[in-house]
Symmetry: C2
Subunit: 206 residues, 2 copies
Amino acid sequence: MGRTSDARVKILSAARSLIELRGYSALGVAEICKAAGVPKGSFYYFFASKEALALAVIDEHWTGQRSTWERILSGDAAPLDRLRRLFEETGAGQLAGQRSCGSVSGCLFGNLTLEMSNQTESVRTRLQEIFEAQAALVEAVVTEALERREVTVTDTREAARSVVAQLEGQVLFAKLYNNTRRLDSLWTNCLALLGARTAGEVTVGT
Amino acid sequence: MGRTSDARVKILSAARSLIELRGYSALGVAEICKAAGVPKGSFYYFFASKEALALAVIDEHWTGQRSTWERILSGDAAPLDRLRRLFEETGAGQLAGQRSCGSVSGCLFGNLTLEMSNQTESVRTRLQEIFEAQAALVEAVVTEALERREVTVTDTREAARSVVAQLEGQVLFAKLYNNTRRLDSLWTNCLALLGARTAGEVTVGT
């Protein structure tokens, strides 16, 4: 079992890197196995198909990201400070990725949404669940901020979705321009989207 | 020349449809020619490579979209009304696409950014130019609105980029959820991002 479990981890890790580098569609199982250094038989022992592998890559990434988001967003700091922290850590994570592999890889979920969501219903459904879970985590913080009268939204879920949409849009540009400075405006934009009272006259571009 | 020019149009049209359906990476030249109903020799008469075809598809799409954006954003209406019109037409366009092919196809440029920008420098450069051109078109309207004291931004280009980022993020979700209602919040979010004075207490979710 030791060796086979190890093979599963190797396949997932190789697939994750290859998907970040070249997307999902162009990958073949043989290429993934070669990069992972495992025989093709191992692949089908662990994954019924390439689609099943994609779902496993998504789930593994979300498990890690969800725990990071929960840690940041459920701390003792003031709700808006926690939200700010989320953007700072997102920027730091993209910068670390750029330093290690030369280019900003962007958001795995956003990448796969645009590449796969119209082709593979199982992947679409999983990504929908993940983005709703992200919106729910942000919404909880927005609700707290609303109770403290620090923001002025009337539909907290819709506001949270807009914050996540702004994040996805700016991460897309950070990837396109290979420049994480594109993420610097996230916090000011978030305050604007939430009608944050603490923002005063602060609007985007300030 | 008549027949060959026709072949070029057919190849471009087939490639555009196939890229919208399944992305770029997984496509082969043979498949594109088969869908276009032209011999493979025709392909290499018009395009040096699959990459050259991708650039031609991008350029053709941008030529059409730029003229639409220019028409909408340079009209006689008040600047913020023109911006609102841009979002309405974007939503209408995505809805028409969904009705004709069953699914929201999203933004071709955003799709290709996430799929190709880290693989093909020529495509990355072209897409960067297009998104900067979009930001410039939006910026011109924001500048007019600023002169009329209808918005409160301090960096008009940065504000325009944030508006385009919000558009890309929401179009991504419209595609993922196959639901153009995701675009309904664009206008309110735009007002919030621009610190629009006409927005009063309007914030996202209202």
